[in-house]
Symmetry: C2
Subunit: 149 residues, 2 copies
Amino acid sequence: MTEHEERRLIDRQAGMADANSKSQFTIGDLAREFGTTLRTLRFYEDKGLLNPRREGQQRLYSRRDRARLGLILRGKRVGFSLSEIREMLDLYDLRDGQVTQMRVALSRFEKQVDNLRRQKEDIEEAITELSRTIEIVGGILKEKERQSA
Amino acid sequence: MTEHEERRLIDRQAGMADANSKSQFTIGDLAREFGTTLRTLRFYEDKGLLNPRREGQQRLYSRRDRARLGLILRGKRVGFSLSEIREMLDLYDLRDGQVTQMRVALSRFEKQVDNLRRQKEDIEEAITELSRTIEIVGGILKEKERQSA
DNA sequence: AATAACGCTTACGTAAACGTCAACTGCAAA
DNA sequence: TTTGCAGTTGACGTTTACGTAAGCGTTATT
């Protein structure tokens, strides 16, 4: 079965009625719930972000795995790379009492906010530059149209 | 000579006193003036963005080439990919009287502004989400510190 | 028995924009 | 003549986050 077909299957199913009551999840369960693909989950595992147990060949995800996946996806949304996320999760596993770990995370989050702010500024500058160009080009265009009229 | 060494050479030279009086430029001239590398200029040529003439083996850039390079770099700054830039430059070369060409460019610029606005929104959302997380984590941390005191 | 639904693995492909090497050539100054 | 600087041409490497292909196994249903 190709990934494409897999996705169609995922898309057309919804019934996650008991997602919170369950304590074990298949790879398909999680893909559906979080709107990702099987490939992605396997990829994350390959990168050491997830470690579901195996029932024979099959992956079985615990509630903890599921929570980790949630953290991974949030991390992505806010612009962390997978390797950064991995580091933080590893750190989280060490739990040296959590306080130190939380402090570390906190400072990374703050740094990332700075990054995002910088990116935002870059984009704003680009918008400004492009808008200026648009006005200039637009002006010339109008001029030309006036002449040819 | 490695790229690293090349860059050092570039960095330590400045004298572009006559950059505007000249009409011919070596690859090093342009790299210095625009703050890029030789490799980059060769790469752009490879991608069909630049077409300097040759004096034997050596590349010789005209003022027109130099202007094109300026456009390329502006295009990059505002978020166009090299292939998009290439298309627009090619279009520019056709000069069907320029008006049609300018209209095409104009609409692309406007689309790109939309893209940039969207990107900006995404970043703003990320900032919001991360800030919320920071507050939560920060709150818990304070709580813990209070307890241990 | 066949098909569907779910899962598995290996492994190559993709896009973007160059960086990094290697191995030369040409020219001028010391 | 030996450096040193400037330039040349391949061609492979890098990064990120998966997509896609291909082929195979397991259950449950039809």
